[in-house]
């Protein structure tokens, strides 16, 4: 059924990509805002592809067993705090140039997905209207 393609892999994955990119932007913004905060440790975002996750997930043999927390994680992105990188004197490990670079890359990533989604929706709309 055509409507099922609206919940298909491409659109869902694209949405997760956008979620991850938004989170990454917010985390980078926070890093930049705290570039001069003593003791602050930079954070980054890791995007785990939900499809990849399913291939290596652990299986419970008995539903009464405690579920693996890995399975329960609905968000496909995680925030990681980098506690072990090189410090400045005040304990802060934010490198402003790296943050700017990540910011630019993330923006391109977001724009690419958003553009692709917009085009896909235009296409689907055309098909859905049946040419009328």
């Amino acid at each position: 059924m055509f409507i099922d393609s609206l919940s298909g892999k491409t659109i869902e994955l694209a949405k997760k990509g956008l979620d991850s990119a938004t989170l990454r932007h917010n985390v980078i913004s926070n890093n930049v805002a705290n570039v001069n905060t003593p003791g602050f440790k930079r954070q980054s975002v890791v995007f785990e592809d939900a499809l990849k996750k399913n291939k290596i997930s652990a299986k419970r043999l008995n539903p009464k067993h405690i579920p693996f927390s890995y399975e329960k994680n609905e968000n496909s992105s995680r925030i990681i705090t980098e506690n072990d990188t090189i410090y400045r004197n005040d304990g802060n490990n934010v490198d402003i140039d790296k943050e700017m670079e990540d910011l630019a890359k993330n923006a391109i990533y977001y724009n690419a997905i958003a553009t692709r989604l917009a085009r896909k929706f235009s296409l689907l709309k055309l098909v859905a209207q049946g040419g009328r």
């Binding site: 956008l18 977001y110 724009n111």
Partner: protein, 148 residues
């Protein structure tokens, strides 16, 4: 609702801009008073500097199965905790003819090193601009999303 969860990133950047701007103002004051030997409170001007601390929106709760360093919510920028006075002792210069000289002829000058202040000013300025770039970026990607 301009402070909704939608605008987290921009809020963080805005807080960074405010904080760095405040820092720059304080540095300017330090530089302007680098030779102020007499203040209403008595004694030379004392160097001041802001204390920054991360600003967080909601308290993190403890999840039993998740170990740090994985956190759930990103922070929400930075804020100025307070403005501190530098407790370093003032610089003493031997100027017996100076009205503020003490009985040994030494004048107490503010504990301000102009080179340090300039470097801090540049650092704050760079940080301010980086925050502006981040905010501009946030706006651009949100506008792009509206085209979906």
């Amino acid at each position: 609702m301009l402070t909704g969860r939608l605008f987290r990133g921009i809020d963080a950047s805005a807080s960074g801009m405010s904080a760095e701007k405040l820092r720059m103002d304080i540095i300017s004051e330090n530089i302007a008073n680098a030779n102020t030997t007499r203040t209403p409170e008595g004694g030379p001007y004392k160097r001041r500097f802001p204390i920054f601390t991360p600003r967080s929106q909601e308290p993190l709760f403890n999840l039993p199965f998740i170990k740090p360093p994985i956190t759930i919510e990103p922070g929400n920028g930075v804020r100025v905790l307070r403005i501190e006075e530098d407790k370093t002792p003032p610089k003493l210069k031997y100027e017996p003819g100076h009205p503020d000289a003490d009985e040994n002829g030494y004048v107490a000058y503010p504990n301000i090193n102009l080179a340090t202040e300039m470097i801090n000013l540049i650092t704050a300025s760079r940080a301010y601009e980086a925050n502006v770039t981040a905010a501009r970026n946030a706006k651009q990607i949100m506008m792009k999303a509206l085209e979906i």
